[in-house]
Symmetry: C2
Subunit: 202 residues, 2 copies
Amino acid sequence: MSAVGSSSPVGRPRAFDIDTALEKALEVFWRKGYDGTSLSDLTDAMGINKPSLYAAFGNKEQLFLKAIEKYESRPCAFFMPALEKPTAYEVAEHMLYGAAANMANKDQPQGCVVIQGALSCSEAAAAVKEALINRRLEGQQKLLQRFERAKAEGDLPASVDAETLAQYLGTVLQGMAIQANNGATPEQLQRVAKMSLLAFPR
Amino acid sequence: MSAVGSSSPVGRPRAFDIDTALEKALEVFWRKGYDGTSLSDLTDAMGINKPSLYAAFGNKEQLFLKAIEKYESRPCAFFMPALEKPTAYEVAEHMLYGAAANMANKDQPQGCVVIQGALSCSEAAAAVKEALINRRLEGQQKLLQRFERAKAEGDLPASVDAETLAQYLGTVLQGMAIQANNGATPEQLQRVAKMSLLAFPR
DNA sequence: CTTAATATGTACTAAGTGGTAAGTAACCCT
DNA sequence: AGGGTTACTTACCACTTAGTACATATTAAG
């Protein structure tokens, strides 16, 4: 058997780095949304031609979905690490402050591509929209499970409605994405984060 | 001088009602966003041909802006009436519960066209995006002014940061629009509304 | 050096985009 | 009945869209 993986497969080698190209595509989708992004936008940003794009990523829709995966696995991702905090309050705290820093970070497009990539969209983007909705619901589901665990651990009172708590937190996080698009600064979002924590049971 | 107004102007009379056509256009823009809506989508929904659309509304962009005006002046609009409530808390309360009912209302597209009409978009939609951002900021500005009045009236403690309060409320309202797009029910949003009021100073 | 395999650039397709020209139909006023 | 004015219908425009055929270039293996 021959070696598998990225080490010199037969044929002409790819002239671009697939990961940095995906990063470029992500940035365009993030700024312009799925409907607002054309293939020319993508090939221009990625520095490749259309046949290379189609060979490497399938088509526009699959490229988008791969870009979303990349987005969620970024080093600056704040969601999953926050879930690991010891108490429910700290989970919420880290998630809110992480979002405040991340969504208004001037080094990248404002907001969150999972929220604004295909919110209202054409029929051509219906599958993409659905995929994004599912991602958002999964995130909220993870919060819900974390808060139920906190109830089981006695960290949250048994009387707490974990579902509403998770949905409230999801609402604030998603609202922060819009605020970032409105031009809100990280500092402003931090103050919003602090205030929204006042509703959190201790 | 002849009579002005809608009473029999010269020429062939318009064969469609301009207001109901605008209502149809609004619904399409609301569901599909500016970039996701084509002129064919619009003419199909409005039941007219392109030249009629252009004669009556200018072009796609102007039609969108007129549709937004219509949206904000709807009978079901909850924003402005809520501002008139006697106390800051009641203002927030009515706004949040109004949003919960409105944004998840199954008789219309989910969410809010001012938020999702052109969040991430193409360069062709840049002017529209800017117009929507301004509308959102104006709404928040109105909230801020209302809360500052409440402070002056002694209804809110002088120590309250009215700006953050307004921004927090804006964040929750905008987050509710995303939640509605995720499929949240009016009841779920009501629980979120109730919870977000816990952060509100009394 | 040839062959097989993959990537590349150029050029193309069919369909859809926003927007318009031009002829015709319907109305009011004289 | 005719003229003036407006709206409607049909057909079109130039351009962009997502996606692809094809010939060429670059590599590894035999």
